[in-house]
């Protein structure tokens, strides 16, 4: 049943030969040298400081939801950087390759990237930014926060949580290794069929794309199950549904999406794999295949995925704005219903990704209307945020800056989205860079929310605040970069520029493309500012230590335990009395009440099995990519064996005695909370302290 592949194949190495290593491509060799140097430096530092043991015992084998969340975020940041470099290459190539007289370097006719290489770059950029940057960053933040916000010790299934992490890591590693061994897909991040099929893409690029996608998709589905079960089952006493923090509601909505749509992606990719490996005819151009089936199935996942990443972002904004407005969130119930509404309607909009593919007018009209309907719950959210800020005592600390700037991006992205929702209008702008600029506004809104969230919750996780001066510099440079790159992109879209051009045939587009290069240059500077912010924050961490409530006016449960959070989260599970429990306790003067006694704590034991499962999944996928069948069989057998072996291990938990809990609790010195820092306050209606 296996498809015959032309070209060399050996039982030991499959399709892998020395010529698959791109040692003659200076860009990739340079990347390799950079990556290798970085690896040597990191390994050297780790050895010098003797942290290998800690790394293994406390991180790689950890099942602690906070550490898993941090590792997710690290993966997300590394991949964000990789995707950003791809973006820099695309911008510079398009600016260089303008008109027939533009010079060519490095074997390419125009610019410095050959069309095949350029195609891989935009495919990698999309795949990475959606699946390996935005998703891990948000999953990581949900991982850290959801158990804290509902007063749980850990996720419902800590072991499964680690498995999800390492599956995602395996997927990310597969994308990275495709740089140096073989190549990556060249048919767009969502896969253009039948170009993805074997006759048109006989190389391993599509296989890398497919299996990396598949691994992270399975990881995210398992993570969704975990978060949903955690929210349903692990809430502290008194935390009724009406008291659930709004970020947790957003996570719940997002994971309802991931639970129901990621399986569709798994099937879609599996069917494509069957086409490429077993010679079936699901999406082929002949023999009864159906190309549109792929597009429908992919986007039935693809559009809900967009809301899967945007809902947690909305959730973070909804947590940040009340804290820095010193008011409760306006319209909690409306916010909850809007989140669930967005999750629900996400299932009915997928066809707007291909209005131009000759559906019946009634079909296009249906999806046009559903797409516009998304604007209703989103509008509810925007108004709720605006009313939360209205007459609040506003403070513009870093998280608030990112959150409020995100609203402007939502406005631009949302309104241009409404323009695209008109099928008739979409016929004009479809596949143009106008659409590209639109969805970058939406995804950047997520990035803004993530940076806001990272600044907001960083002190909770690490015990010290991030530095403000470089942080603000980063914010303004990033914002300037966003404006300078994407305003010209909207304009170019209206001028008719389509996406994915490795050569620009119209010289009149040149100046605007040059402006975009300036913008991406500003982005590069912003990365430097970010690194400076991180460095200075780490250096001056002693001065920036915070107490339980890092921002003094926080509202939800996670601010009731120490900063940094101890590994058992809460020494004693809190009893919840109100929607904004922390704020309620402050108002009633009971925020300093400590537990009268302590109890034994039941905790999951660390295990290396999830790490091995991730490594074996990587081996399995790598074997499939190169068709090294012995490796595939060995890894599949080992994975099955490990799962069975783990099921026989009954010693997976341990208990911390109450007296040890008490000893650890007493050893923690919290910095006492002071008055709110209101030096930047505008507005002036005392909405919070005086108790409205």
């Amino acid at each position: 049943m296996l498809v015959h592949i032309d070209g060399p194949w050996s039982p030991l190495l499959g399709r892998l030969t020395l010529s698959e290593i791109p040692y003659n491509n200076p860009i990739l060799v340079g990347t390799f040298v950079f990556a290798a140097l970085l690896a040597v430096i990191l390994v050297g530092l780790a050895t010098y400081f003797g942290v290998w043991r800690t790394l293994w015992r406390d991180w790689l084998t950890s099942v602690d939801h906070k550490k898993i969340g941090i590792m997710y975020i690290l993966i997300g940041l590394v991949m964000l950087f990789r995707g950003f470099i791809d973006a820099v290459m695309m911008r510079t190539q398009q600016a260089l390759a303008v008109g027939p007289h533009s010079p060519g370097y490095l074997h390419s006719l125009h610019g410095y990237l050959t069309p095949y290489h350029f195609d891989q770059i935009y495919t990698a950029h999309g795949t990475i930014m959606i699946l390996f940057a935005a998703t891990p960053l948000l999953v990581g933040i949900m991982n850290i926060l959801v158990p804290l916000q509902i007063g749980a010790r850990d996720m419902a299934y800590p072991y499964l949580n680690a498995v999800s992490l390492w599956l995602t890591a395996a997927g990310a590693a597969l994308v990275m290794i495709s740089l140096f061994i073989g190549d990556f897909a060249h048919a767009g991040w969502f896969g253009i069929v039948p170009v993805m099929e074997l006759p048109y893409s006989p190389g391993v690029g599509v296989d890398y794309w497919m299996w990396a996608f598949q691994l992270s998709s399975i990881g995210t589905t398992l993570g969704g199950i975990n978060l949903l079960a955690t929210i349903v089952k692990m809430r502290a006493p008194g935390m009724s549904w009406g008291r659930l923090p709004i970020f947790t509601w957003a996570s719940l909505s997002a994971n309802l999406i991931s639970l129901t749509t990621f399986p569709v992606l798994t099937v879609t990719l599996a069917l494509l794999a069957l086409d490429r490996y077993a010679g079936t005819h699901f999406f082929t151009a002949g023999l009864g295949g159906n190309l549109m089936l792929y597009n429908d199935l992919f986007w039935i996942w693809g559009h809900p995925e967009v809301y899967f990443v945007i809902l947690p972002a909305f959730g973070m904004i909804s947590e940040i704005i009340p804290t820095f407005s010193e008011k409760p969130l306006f319209g909690y119930m409306g916010m909850v219903l809007a989140s669930l509404g967005i999750a629900g309607v996400s299932w009915g909009v997928w066809l707007h990704h291909f209005f131009t593919m000759a559906s019946a007018p009634a079909v296009n009209a249906f999806f046009s209307i559903t797409t516009m309907a998304v604007g209703i719950p989103t509008g509810v959210k925007v108004f709720n945020w605006a009313f939360t800020m209205f007459r609040g005592r506003l403070r513009f600390d870093l998280p608030m800056m990112w959150a409020s700037a995100a609203l402007f991006l939502l406005l631009v992205g949302g309104l241009t989205g409404m323009m695209n929702a008109f099928a008739t209008n979409d016929y004009m702008v479809h596949n143009s860079v106008f659409v590209v600029a639109h969805f970058h506004m939406m995804l950047l809104l997520i990035v803004y929310a993530i940076f806001g969230g990272v600044n907001y919750w960083f002190p909770k996780v690490f015990g010290f605040r991030l530095e403000q001066r470089f942080g603000k510099m980063f914010f303004w440079l990033f914002t300037a970069g966003t404006a300078v790159v994407f305003i010209p992109m909207f304009t170019l879209g209206f001028m008719g520029m389509t996406r994915r051009l490795d050569y620009i045939a119209f010289p009149q587009w040149g100046p605007l493309l040059d402006v975009e290069v300036v913008g991406i240059g500003i982005y590069v500077l912003s990365v430097v500012a970010l690194l400076a912010q991180l460095y200075v924050s780490f250096r001056d961490r002693a001065q920036n230590r915070v107490g339980l409530d890092a921002w003094e006016t926080s509202r939800s449960l996670e601010w009731m335990t120490h900063s940094p959070v101890p590994f058992y989260n809460f020494a004693v599970t809190p009893e919840v009395h109100a929607r904004d429990e922390r704020a309620w306790r402050v108002e009633h003067g009971v925020d300093t009440v400590r537990p009268e006694r302590y109890e034994d704590i039941h905790m999951p034991r660390n295990t290396a099995i999830p790490l091995w499962l991730g490594a074996l999944s990587f081996g399995l996928a790598f074997g499939l990519v190169w068709r090294i069948w012995w490796l595939v069989e060995a890894c599949a057998a080992a994975i099955t064996a490990l799962i069975v072996i783990r099921s026989f291990d009954h010693d997976t938990d341990y208990t911390i005695a109450a007296k040890d809990v008490e000893r650890m609790e007493r050893a923690i010195r919290d910095i006492p909370s002071g008055r709110p820092v209101a030096d930047d306050a505008i507005g002036g209606v005392p909405a919070f302290r005086e108790g409205v």
């Binding site: 049943m1 419902a156 299934y157 589905t221 969704g224 199950i225 079960a229 089952k233 692990m234 502290a236 008194g238 639970l259 129901t260 990621f262 399986p263 569709v264 099937v267 879609t268 069917l271 069957l274 086409d275 010679g279 079936t280 005819h281 699901f282 002949g286 023999l287 009864g288 295949g289 159906n290 089936l293 429908d296 199935l297 409760p328 509202r555 599970t573 809190p574 009893e575 009395h577 109100a578 929607r579 904004d580 704020a583 309620w584 306790r585 108002e587 009633h588 003067g589 009971v590 009440v593 400590r594 537990p595 009268e596 006694r597 109890e599 069975v644 099921s647 026989f648 009954h650 409205v692």
Partner: protein
């Protein structure tokens, strides 16, 4: 409405910290398994959707179509095997309720053996179709048909492997909390694949009799 102040509770007297609070491990595990089944049901849904889209005569590309590959009478035989296996597993669950270890093992063994009977009919039918030239790579229709058959078959194989593991665990570890929640989840899984088989029977096999 300020929710922070809306409570009528007496803050000074109500407890701030909850002592003696625990989570029910078995129900947490079962909920997770229900959620997994929802995701697996979505996978079946996507496969059924693909089968429907590729179910037209044109997708058979001149090769065998539903009328020649889908045999309701064979599927009926398979249904009897499969449902008997579910019934046998049900008897194991009755024994579990009574805490009767031997009964649990007997029921699971019966369910396992009957499931093997299903598999042998299933494999026999697939090989028969292959011999008459109806293979997955023949046409889009057959690709979708066989993928569903194999995907359901995979569930049966996983179920059998799971039963083997559970037999060992019941024998050596007894009916501990962990073993019990796994037995309960396996019950869900075994019913789940049978429910999916009902859809298979309706949309794949009965179709052979009506189109």
């Amino acid at each position: 409405m300020s929710t922070a102040t809306s409570g009528t509770l007496d803050a000074k007297r109500s407890p701030m910290w909850s002592l003696g609070h625990g989570h029910d491990a078995i129900s947490t595990r079962t909920l997770g398994f229900w959620l997994y089944m929802l995701s697996d049901a979505m996978m079946f849904t996507a496969l059924f959707a693909a089968y429907t889209v590729l179910g037209h005569a044109v997708n058979a590309a001149g090769g065998p179509w539903a009328t020649t590959v889908a045999h309701p009478e064979v599927a009926f035989k398979e249904t009897v095997w499969l449902f008997s296996s579910v019934l046998a597993y049900g008897f194991a669950m009755i024994a579990l309720k009574k805490g009767h270890r031997g009964g649990v093992m007997l029921g699971i063994t019966a369910a396992l053996l009957i499931a093997l009977g299903f598999l042998s009919v299933d494999i026999h039918e697939i090989l028969h179709l292959f011999r008459m030239g109806a293979t997955p790579e023949r046409s889009g229709y057959l690709s979708a048909f066989f993928t569903l058959v194999f995907y359901h078959g995979l569930h049966v194989v996983v179920g059998i492997a799971w039963m083997l593991v559970m037999l060992v665990q019941v024998a050596f570890k007894g009916l501990s909390e962990r073993v019990v929640y796994r037995l309960l989840n396996l019950r869900l899984f075994w019913h789940f694949q049978a429910v999916m088989w009902v859809f298979m029977f309706t949309f794949l096999y009965l179709r052979g009799a009506i189109v």
